[in-house]
Structures are given as structure tokens and as C-alpha cells.
């Protein structure tokens, strides 16, 4: 009876196995690389907006507080977008004829809302609440980055689950005095050595237990 396997069969088997393992590993790395890439997480990407609103100008240069426009941030789950009326409190006096502001003026005139595109959005099975984070002193910059340096708003951090849980496992280092949450530049604060203890004290004060914070039901329901 003829041989079923050629002399090279064994080599082929080994080579194929090795190649398969190699390809699978490579695939896994590529996949992991992709999901963590800025492309997939949307970090640093600018989203089209009806008006090229510059946080750099309004926050960085003019020093307007976040809560001037995002009024819900202390009392509600969502920070909220400002009503057209808020824009027009200033822009009925300033840059009244600017072409870039035409959609804002139209919105007020026609009583039609501006349609913004969200930059910082969590998936619909995640329930994030701004008010409690602000109350405990998680500064805006912790998640939204240096908004005051962004001419066009972009996502500063990948809003993957890991980003949330990193902080929920050990919130201390991120905590700041709640009365200063909207402060953007914390380098002066960080340079004071005594401030390193602030987070630990704040966690004690508020009774924050990381073991409870990392439970699924904190965010998923």
C-alpha cells in the first residue's frame, strides 16, 4: 500500500501550526492595537460642528467658567449644552455680524435649536453622572483634558472602560478641592508636596470606598 503521507508532511504540519500560532498572535496584537488606537477611540479627532466654537478663546483667553454654559453639571447627570440664548447674551453685542455666528443668530430668530455633535459621549449602556463627580472634586480637566487649549474641541482621553476604572480603583490622586473643579491648570497645586495627601483625606472625608466604586452597578444598569 502506498504511503498516505509524503516525507515532507511532518514539516508542513509544523510549519502550518507555527504559522497559525504566529498569525493568531499577530492578529491579537493588531486588534488590541486598533481598539486602543486614537483612531478607534476618537482621541484627538475634531468633530464637525455647526459653529466652529473655540474653547481656547472662551475659556483660555477670556476665562469664562465652564458652568456659565454647562449649567447642569452640578445638579444633573448631564452637564448640558447652553441654550442659544446663552450665546446671544454676549453675541448680541459682540461680533454681531460675524459669518461664523450666523447659525446661532438663525437659531434664535427661527426658534430652532442648534444641533451640536457630542465630543465626549459614553456608550448607551453606561450611566455617567456629572453632579456627583463635581461634588466630590473630580476636576473637569481629569476627563475632558485641557479644554482651554483646544481651538476646536476634541476628545482628550479614550473613553474606554479602563479609563473609568483606573480612576474608580484609586480616585485619590485625581481629587481636587470641589470649589476649584473647573480649574484647568493644576501644575501649581501639584508642586506643593502637602497636596499629595489631599486625595487620601478627601476620600476619608467623603467616605469613598474604591471597592464599591468598581462594582458594575456603579455605571451599568
Amino acid at each position: 500500500m502506498a504511503q498516505i503521507f509524503t516525507p515532507a508532511a511532518d514539516t508542513w504540519l509544523r510549519a502550518t501550526t507555527l504559522a497559525t500560532v504566529f498569525l493568531l498572535t499577530l492578529g491579537a496584537f493588531l486588534f488590541a492595537g486598533y481598539v486602543n488606537s486614537d483612531y478607534a477611540t476618537g482621541v484627538g479627532m475634531v468633530v464637525d460642528q455647526p459653529v466652529p466654537f473655540s474653547h481656547k478663546h472662551h475659556v483660555g483667553d477670556l476665562g469664562i467658567d465652564c458652568r456659565m454654559c454647562h449649567t447642569g453639571v452640578e445638579t444633573s447627570a448631564n452637564a448640558g449644552f447652553p441654550p442659544t440664548h446663552t450665546c446671544m447674551t454676549c453675541h448680541s453685542q459682540l461680533w454681531t455680524g460675524a459669518a461664523a455666528l450666523a447659525p446661532v443668530r438663525d437659531s434664535l430668530a427661527e426658534d430652532k435649536p442648534l444641533v451640536w455633535n457630542r465630543v465626549s459621549e459614553v456608550p448607551n449602556y453606561v450611566f455617567f453622572n456629572h453632579s456627583i463627580h463635581i461634588d466630590r472634586g473630580v476636576p473637569c480637566v481629569a476627563c475632558h483634558g485641557r479644554i482651554d487649549e483646544m481651538p476646536l474641541t476634541q476628545r482628550a482621553h479614550p473613553f474606554l472602560m479602563r479609563f473609568c476604572t483606573d480612576c474608580h480603583r484609586d480616585p485619590g490622586p485625581k481629587l481636587r478641592p470641589p470649589d476649584q473643579v473647573t480649574r484647568m491648570d493644576w501644575s501649581a497645586w501639584d508642586s506643593v508636596p502637602e497636596h499629595r495627601r489631599y486625595g487620601i483625606e478627601a476620600m476619608k472625608h467623603f467616605g469613598i470606598e474604591p471597592s464599591r466604586l468598581i462594582n458594575c452597578e456603579t455605571c451599568h444598569r
Binding site: G72, S76, G80, W116, R118, F127, C216, R221
Partner: protein, 974 residues
Amino acid sequence: MDIDTSRLSSRTGRRFWRAVEAHDGNLDAAIEAEFAAAFEGLSDRGRRELLKVMGASLALLGVAGCSQQGDVRAMPYVTAPEFETADNPKHYATAVIMAGWAQPVIGVTHVGRPTKLEGNPKHPASGGATDAFTQAALLGLYDPNRAQGPKFEGRPAAWAAFDDAMVENAARLNARQGEGFRLLTGASTSPTLARQLNDLMQRWPKARWHLFEPFDDGLRLEAARLAFGKPLDRRLHVDQAEVIVSLDDDLLGPGPQQTLNARQWSTRRRAFQTGQGQARLFVAEPTPSLTGAVAGDRLIAAHGRIPALAQALSSALGDSATMPTLSALEQQWLERAARAMKAVQGRALVTVGAQHAPEVQALAVALNARIGALGRTIAFAEPAALSPPDGAQSLATLVRDLQGGAVDTLVILDANPVFTAPADLGFARAMERARVRVYAGLHDDETAALCHWRAPIQHCLESWTDARAVDGTVSLVQPLVRPFYDVRSAHAVLEAVQGRLGASDHDLVTQTWRGAWGGAFDETWRTSLLDGFIANSAPAEAAVSAARVAAAFASEAPGLEVLFRPDPSLWDGRFANNAWLQELPKPLNKVTWDNVIAVSPAFAEANHIGSGIDSGDIVRVEAGGRSVEGPVWVTPGQARDSITVFLGYGRRLPGQLGDGHGFDGYPLRTSVSPFAVGGARLTRVDGKRLLACTQDHTALQGFDFVRTVSPDAARRERSGPSSASREPSLYPDWRASSPSWGMSVDTDVCIGCNACVTACDAENNIPMVGKDQVAKGRAMHWLRIDHYFEGPADDPKLFFQPVPCMHCEKAPCEMGCPVGATVHSPDGLNLQVYNRCIGTRTCSSFCPYKVRRFNWFDFTGKDPPELQAARNPNVTVRSRGVMEKCTYCIQRISDARIAAELEGRPIADGEIKTACQQACPTKAIVFGDVINPESEVSRRKRSARDYTLLEEVNTRPRTTYLARIDDGEEGEGA
């Protein structure tokens, strides 16, 4: 007929069963086939087919796992309302109107969308309770099948055209003082409608107003007229009645009065639980009702026997009337009832159902007066509902005038007489004699189809109006949302048909009350809107005494009788388009999407035709020369000679959700005998209907599911922790710290009314799956009410047991999940993490309580925008392939926790109410922190009545039950 009781034999030796075998097959099969339809047809396809399916599943796995980002658009206000955070829910006190009566609610809106109706705790009648109809009214608002704009002769028209036509018509009628103008409405208690009708009659003295409501209190008013000389509303004070003898009166059953009676009854019952007096309920009835199910002493008596029983009771309590002949069973029941009544004197109540002759009801009134109950357990007041000039003959008069050609313009406002009118009147044909027919209603229904103009009206949640609750208190009804269809308020339509245009519903309602309050208007209006009702607006209880004893009355029609009852889910049919109600298992037979003809097991057995009558067999019921055909349901506890036909199904609504489900029983109902007809005949015809019944779904394997204790035992406190919590377990121990959530369900006050189930549907975005899927055991309700029987099929005791997720401390489901999608939280919740779930369904097969529900299909993705708007934004909308279950309303826990943390305080006891708890009219459900010994739930769990469902599986559930108290004859009790 064999009853499958052997397999549920229990440790206490008591046997509880779920279904008559002939209908059900055997229970083991039901238990084994947990996913009854999972592999339907696959097993006989062979290996190749199986591999193909598996391959396809694997290939699709990756696709199904992808989640999509939601809508990323953000649309802020142009000008924001002051002092308001857009995202926080807002609450408005208002009311939902059911058959003319106000059901007070607090409407919750999210960004302008009503998402939930909660009971109004301040309201004197409801005290925060709701019923299933009220909960489902939310879906009624968003119903995509609602009439969305005016139509003329079936084609879309503009309101302007309607207005023009009406102005022209009104000018013609003006010249004749309204002669030939007829208005037909459903029942109403609206003071504004009353004012408008008054105006109408003054402008057009020759016009006439008619009223028709398929199930109303007409005969009750007549009974009061017999007793006191004038029609009066009956006001029950069930909380004062230590002994209630109900002669076929479903006090706790569905209907406008359910929440008030159930709340008061549970108040009385709770007092009894702690040893303050009694709370005994004697019921004699032909067909099982919720009242009968919770009664301590239930007698099965045909409709025709009720007059005799009333007379006998009167005689037993000292009336000189002759004692009718009673059977031995009836005699014994009567003696027990009479003895109990005598023992408590004036703290008793005798009540006869509104479907019985006024003379019989008047006899009960007289009886109440004689025992001194008048003014204590029962009182009378001026009628709250508007009564038409022709009284009970209102519709008959209209039909006669229609046939006589006396009607020129017929306006039908919020009624559907073509479907519901008594068959002998021939309303539909008579109606076509009217020259101009205008229909104003929520849906394009059977009546709309025969009208020239269809003027769709606003739902009560998007309209200004007013109405009285069953205690007479007026609620101002304010809109929760601006109408999103092209519809008008009923008040505005009524003005328009008189040629008066431009009146807004708000103006019409304020006009009524401005007149009533004068200078105090602004302040009273504001307070009443905030409270949800107008304080002290109920008509005072009339000072009545010495009720006249009614004349003698004839007793019973011999032979087989047919009873007409409103469907417990669809009422008279008006909720046919409401999926939450269609898919709601009916309390006493757990059938969904269909109505049935109820017959007793003995009758089914005796009427052997071929193989006998089984549930689902099509039968023809004939009575008075009319007949209907429908599926039969063998109903344990039904009277031998009574057949119950549930009305409200068989709607003819082409293209709408409610079209074609069930059969129409109205053709059998006549104006002469609207509630029962004797001399009936039942024959089997060919065919069998598949009924989607959930009674045998999710059957548990074990014993002692429901328990009863004696009144004495009930009052003791348990000496230590229950035995179960001391059993060793291989499962991990959880650190228990406060708060640890738990629930206690009191089966002693649960009346099985389904309010909790519907509230859960609304709160938790529960998808409705349709009849076919329900039949396959795929209903998605997170909370179900199990219904058990004990004893012989012909006269069983009935039990209800609401079953949500037990939130076991030693949860088998958590062990089963291969991906950690179901895990334990530090506050004792058993969590389900949808984004982790890959749909192996292992958790469900491990769950001894069968409370987990699997999304076999994408039940939500194709929801029209209206239904998407109805969703609770705080609860994830689940997608295909995901397991889900009761979360103890975790969104409410999270909200309360965050609110408490922001204010730097602990969560107060009672601060978190789960949706089911909030809706429950009898406060059977209590939720709270089980670590805190002072919490209500901890107090309940210390009771000797506390028990664990399936204690033997040692899962240590956080949901436990309080056993029912057996208050049969004194000295009895298990």
C-alpha cells in the same frame, strides 16, 4: 378530569397546583422544557443541519456583539426655561381618565417626554396606589395607532375644513334651536363637560344629550333610588368593615374603584394582622374574581342564586321575609357569614354586585341600614358622574329617534357604541340614518368607520380637563406634553360642533373653575394643580337613614346562564391597542392576547362531545336566539351552571395592533339582559385555538410555594434567623454592609391585580413580544404573578404570588455565567451586566425561580419613534441575545444614592420605592435596607409569617414572602 397535583406534593402535606391537566399536559414537562421553544424542530433535522446552524451562530456572533454608539447629536434649548435643569425628571400632578373616572397620578417627564405614571400619595382616594390600566395609560398616549389627524369620509382632511363644515352645520341648527342635534358620550364626571352640556342645552333647547357606557353603575344608582327615593352614589368605607359579605360584587377587581377599595381593604387587613379586629371576607360568586380569590370563605353560586342568597341573608339577620330554599352548602356558608356579621354588628358590610337587579342591591342597602352599617362602612352621596336626561334608556331613546329619522346631526364623543352597544338595539344600522355624523375619539375605531367626520381627540395626558375620582374628589388634569399628533381636546371639539371656534382646552377648564371660585381662583387653581386634586371637592355624604325595604323580587332563571364581564386587561375593549395590556397575563387564567369563555371543570367533563371540552376548544354559546363562538377555558372555581364571556376582544381595527385578537362577545349581549342571560346552550364546534397562556410557564420545582398560617401564629415574631440562613453553603460569602437591599412581599394582601407588572413594564422598558412568542414561553415580564390552586378543581382555593428576581445571596446564576455578566454587588443586588452578556442562557437554566428573560430577537430595534420616546432614559434598552431580569429598579437606587451623597446623608428608609412597590394598591411589596433593623422591610422579615420561596435550595434570597393568614372559621387554619 385529572388534576396534576401529585408532583407538587409538599412537606406540609398541602397540595398546590397550577393547572388542570387536560389543558396543561404534565408539569414536569413544563419544568424540563424551560426554554420550551428553544430547539423546536431542530432535533429532527439531523447532524448536518445542526452543524450549519451552529456555524451560522458562530459567524454571526461577532456581528451581534458589536454595539452601536447612540445618537451623538445634542439639541439644547433656544431659550431655556428658568430654574430648570433639562436632564432632571420633572413631576406633574395630574390624572388619567378611566371610563369617566379620574385615576390620580404624578406624571414623570424626562426632557418633556412623559415616561412614567406614579400614584399620587396625597390624593384622598388613591393614596398613591394605581392599577394596571392607569400604568398602561402611558403607552396609550404614545400609541402609534392613535388617530393622528382629522378625516372626512375616510380621507385625511384639515381642521380648517372640519371647522368650516361645523360652522355651517351649526348655523342650520341655530335656526331650529338645535332640533335634530344629538350628542352621545361615554361616562364622564368632568365638571367642565357638565358646564359645556349646560351651555349647549341653553343655546339649543331642542338638542339632546345621550350617554352610553358598557359597564357602569347605572343599576347601583337605581338601587339607591329604590332605597332612598333618589339616585345616590355608594361610598364604601372598606377599611371600617371587619366583615364583608360580597354577593357577586368584585370589590377588588379591575375597574375605576379598584385602587380605592383595594387600598382600604388592605388597611383593614393589616390592622387584623396586628390583632386589631377582624378582616373577614365572605364571597358568593359564579365566576372566580380577585375578591373571591382573597376571600377567606368563598361560595360558588350561580348568578341566578344571588337574589336568593341576599334574601336568605336578610332573613338570617332578623328580617321577617321568607327564607328561600338553599342548598346545604349555601346554607352553611350563609350561617357562617351571618354569624360573623352578628359578632361585629355595625362594622360589617353587605354588598351586591352592580350587575344584579336593583331590587337585590336595594335589599343589601336595607340590610346595611338595619345592622347599623350605614354611615360606618357604607355611605351615600350625590352622584359624581353626569347623568343623561333619559337615564338608563339613554341609548335606546337615541336609537329610537335615529330610526324615526329625528336625528340630523349625531356627534359621538369618546365612546364606541358600534362595537359596545347592546346587540338588540341595532345601533350601527340606526346610526346611518343621521345626516351628519361626527366622531371624536382616540382611535379610528368601528364607530369612526361609519362617521363622516373623524375629529381625533387628545389623550388625557396631553390635554387640559377635569374629572372626579371615585370618592368624588375633582382632579384637574394637566397635560404632561404638547400633543404630537394633529389632535384637539374633547372640550374644544364639543365647542367646534356648536360652531364656536378657537376655544382652547385650558380656557374652557379655567372658565369652569373661575366661575366656581371667583376671586380665589388664582390661588386655588395653583394649589389644586400642585396637589393634583381640588381639596374638599367631593360631594358631602348625604344624611340618609331608614332605607326602604324593596319589594319582593323574582328569583333565578333556570338552566345554563351566560355572564358578561369586562375583560380584566382590555376592559370594554378600549385598551385593545395597548400592548402592555394585551400581553398582561390575566389575573385568573394567565391568558394573553385573547379572551375566553369560562366554564367549570365539572361542566367541561359532563359535556363530553367526542373527547370532551378542553381549554382552547372552540364552542358556540347560544342564548336568546343569538350566538357567539370562541375558545373555551376550563376555569377552576367557576359555577357549574354559569358560563362567563369576557367582552372587549374581537375588535375590528384594520391595520392596528388590537385588530382581530380574541372573539367579540358583544353580539350576545342585549339591552334587556346586559350582565347575564339564562337559558343558554353551549355546543362544541370544530377547531381549537392556540391560546398564549403563561400559567404553565416558568413552573418551579419544589413545594410549599405559597403558605398559609393561622391568625395566632401570624402575630408572633420569629425567634431567630430562619433555618435556611444557617445551612452551610459552598458559595462564597458576601460582606453584608448597610445598605443591603431586600424585599418582602405580603401574600396576605396581594390581590393579583397586575398593577405591579404593568408598572415594571413602564419603568424598565420591558419589550412586548406578541402572542406567538408568549406562547413559546418568551414573555419578557421581569415580574410575574404566579397563580396557584389548592383543593378540588371545582372549588379550589386561589393564591397569588408575585415573583420578581429573588436577588439570592447564594445565587446559582452567578456561578453559571462563563463571562461574569451576572455578579453580586456589595449592597446585595444580583446584577445583570448587559454589555458583558453573550447569551449562553446558563444563568437562566441555573435559576431555580425562573425569573430570567432572554432576548431571543431584537424586540426593540424596530420600535417606531413614538414608542422610543416612551422609554425610561435611565434604563438600558436591551438588544438581541442578552439575558435580563428584575434589577430591584437599580436606576432608582442609583438616583437615591447619588442624591443622598450630594446632600451628605444616608438614604432614608422608604426613600427608594421600586416601581412595583409604588404601584401596588395594597402595599403588599416593601423594599428597603435589610441590615437596618428599624426599616420597614426588616420589621416584616422578623414576622413569623416570613418565609423563603424554595428554601430547600439554600439560595438565601433577599426577596422573601409573608404567608397568607387563613382566617376561615374560627379555630381552623393550617
